[in-house]
C-alpha cells in the first residue's frame, strides 16, 4: 500500500487506494465501538476527511492503517461531546449498514462479555479489543495508542486476567447492556490530538 503524499501530482489516486484498502478494517473498528450504524458511518467519514486534510502526516506502508486507527480512536473519544453533522452520503452508508443487519451477537455470553469489558479502563479495553478484534500485535497497538510495545504487553496480560476474573464474577442475572447504559464505554481516556 503506497501512502498518499501532498506532493504527489494528484494525491487523490493514492488516497483512493488507501481508502479502498483500509475502509473495511476501519468500518469494523468503529462498528465494534459505537452504539449505532449512523455513528459508525459518521465517524468513518470524519476519519478519512481528517486524513485527507492531513496528507503530510500519513505514514508510509501498513503504518498508514495503524495511523487511521489512531485517528478513529481519537474521534471516538471525542464523539460523545460533538454533534453529528447530517450528511446524505453518511446517511446512505448508515442505511446500508442497517439493512445488512446488526452483526453484534446478543446471547448471554456476549452480554456478559460486554458487561465485563465495560468494567475495564478504556485503555485496557482498547488494548484487549485491538488485539482480539483487529488482530494487531503489541507493536502495532503501541503505535495506535502511542505507547511502548513493552507497556502494551504488560497491560495486555493484565487486562486479560482482569477480564477473566470479571467474567467469572458476573452473575448471569446481573446482565446489562453496558454500551447503552454507560457512556464511559468510550469516554474515560483523555483525548489525544491526532
Amino acid at each position: 500500500m503506497r501512502s498518499p503524499r501532498a506532493t504527489d501530482p494528484d494525491p487523490r489516486d493514492a488516497f483512493a487506494e488507501l481508502f479502498r484498502s483500509t475502509r473495511s478494517d476501519l468500518l469494523r473498528y468503529l462498528l465494534r465501538r459505537t452504539t449505532d450504524a449512523e455513528e459508525a458511518a459518521d465517524l468513518l467519514a470524519e476519519t478519512y476527511a481528517t486524513a485527507w486534510r492531513k496528507l503530510e502526516a500519513i505514514p508510509a506502508g501498513d503504518q498508514a492503517r495503524l495511523w487511521l486507527f489512531g485517528v478513529a480512536r481519537n474521534l471516538l473519544l471525542r464523539s460523545a461531546r460533538r454533534q453529528r453533522v447530517a450528511d446524505a452520503l453518511v446517511d446512505r452508508l448508515a442505511g446500508e449498514l442497517r439493512a445488512a443487519g446488526p452483526p453484534a451477537p446478543s446471547d448471554d455470553r456476549a452480554l456478559r462479555l460486554r458487561t465485563a469489558l465495560a468494567e475495564l479502563t478504556e485503555r485496557d479495553r482498547e488494548i484487549l479489543t485491538l488485539s482480539a478484534w483487529e488482530g494487531l500485535a503489541p507493536r502495532e497497538i503501541a503505535k495506535v495508542m502511542r505507547t511502548s510495545p513493552n507497556a502494551v504487553r504488560i497491560r495486555l496480560h493484565r487486562a486479560r486476567k482482569q477480564l477473566g476474573s470479571r467474567l467469572s464474577a458476573t452473575p448471569a442475572a446481573d446482565l446489562a447492556a453496558p454500551r447503552d447504559a454507560d457512556p464511559a464505554w468510550r469516554t474515560r481516556a483523555p483525548v489525544i490530538d491526532s
Binding site: F15, L89, L93, E96, P103, P105, R114, S148, L156, K161
Partner: protein, 280 residues
C-alpha cells in the same frame, strides 16, 4: 473458555460481514466525496523558517570558529546527558535518554549492544532492534536501558529459536551451547539494569499479577533447559506471556510483507514461517 476465544466469538463485526454490494457502493460514494473536497492550502510554518535561520546562524558561527564544514553543523548528537530519574524506569527502561534521530544513533546503538550475544546467523537482528526503536519513538527519544533491554529481549528470542532449529536438525552440540547461553541470560547486565529480579508474577492493579519486564522469558528458558521441544512449540503457538518472538525477526517481517493482505502478524503465521525457514 479462553478470554481471547470468547472475544473472537463475540466480535460485533467479524470478518466476512459487511460484504453487501450496497455497502461497497455507499463507501465508494463517501470516498469520492472526500477526495473531491478541497484540501486546506499548505501554510508556511513559522517554526520551520526559524529553524532554517538557526541552521544558517550555526553554520556561520562554526565557519568563523575554525573552518568546520557547514555539513557538520547539522550534526544531531545522540547523547543528551539527561537520565531517566531513579524509580521511573519501570515500563520505559533506565539510563541516559538518547535521540533516535541523532546522526550517530546507529553507531552508538550498536556499541551499546556489544556485550549482548546473538547466535551466529542472527546478525540482522541488531539492526532490526534499532529500526524498531526508531519507529516506536514518535518523540525520537529512548532511554539507553530500554534500547539495551530491547537487544536483550531480541537476543533471548534468537537463542531460543536457535535451540529449536538445532534440536530439529539433531545438532546436539549447538543445542547444548544455546542452553548454556540461555541459562545465564536473565543475569545479563542489560536485563538486570531494567529488571533486577525477573518474575512471572509481580503485583498489578486490583489484586492482579503480571510478569515483570523479562518475566515472560522464564517459562521459555525453563522449557529449553528441560529439552522440551513440543512444549516450546505450544508456547510459541499460544504466544504465551506475549513473548511476540516474531517482532524481533527481520526475516519474518520481510516474509509477512510478501504474503496476501489478510495474513497478519500472529503466532500461527510465525510458526508457519518457521516451518519453511529453518535456520542453522
Amino acid at each position: 473458555m479462553n478470554v481471547d476465544d470468547l472475544l473472537t466469538e463475540c466480535d460485533p463485526a467479524p470478518a466476512g460481514t459487511l460484504t453487501a454490494a450496497g455497502i461497497d457502493e455507499a463507501l465508494d460514494a463517501v470516498g469520492r466525496a472526500i477526495v473531491d473536497s478541497p484540501r486546506p492550502a499548505r501554510r508556511r510554518r513559522r517554526g520551520l523558517a526559524r529553524s532554517r535561520r538557526m541552521i544558517l546562524v550555526a553554520a556561520v558561527l562554526a565557519l568563523a570558529a575554525g573552518g568546520v564544514t557547514a555539513a557538520r553543523t547539522l550534526f544531531i548528537p545522540t547523547h543528551t546527558g539527561t537520565y531517566v530519574p531513579k524509580g521511573m524506569a519501570v515500563g520505559g527502561g533506565p539510563g541516559e535518554i538518547l535521540r533516535t534521530d541523532g546522526t550517530n544513533f546507529h553507531r552508538i546503538a550498536i556499541a551499546l549492544s556489544a556485550d549482548i550475544p546473538f547466535p551466529a546467523g542472527y546478525i540482522g537482528w541488531r539492526d532490526a532492534v534499532i529500526a524498531n526503536e526508531i519507529s516506536d519513538q514518535p518523540w525520537h527519544k529512548v532511554p539507553s536501558g530500554q534500547l539495551r533491554g530491547g537487544y536483550a529481549q531480541a537476543a533471548i528470542c534468537a537463542w531460543i529459536l536457535d535451540w529449536r532449529a538445532a534440536m530439529r536438525r539433531g545438532d546436539a552440540s549447538r543445542a547444548s551451547h544455546d542452553v548454556a547461553v540461555l541459562a545465564g541470560a536473565l543475569k545479563w547486565p542489560a536485563v538486570t539494569a531494567w529488571d533486577p529480579h525477573p518474575s512471572m508474577s509481580v503485583p498489578g492493579d486490583s489484586g492482579t499479577t503480571h510478569p515483570s519486564e523479562f518475566g515472560w522469558a522464564i517459562p521459555y528458558i525453563a522449557t529449553v533447559r528441560g529439552g522440551n521441544l513440543p512444549r516450546l512449540d505450544r508456547l510459541l503457538a499460544d504466544d504465551s506471556f506475549d513473548a511476540a518472538f516474531w517482532e524481533s525477526d527481520p526475516d519474518f517481517a520481510a516474509w509477512i510483507d510478501r504474503q496476501p493482505n489478510r495474513v497478519r502478524n500472529s503466532p500461527r503465521a510465525f510458526l508457519r514461517y518457521l516451518s519453511t525457514h529453518e535456520r542453522g
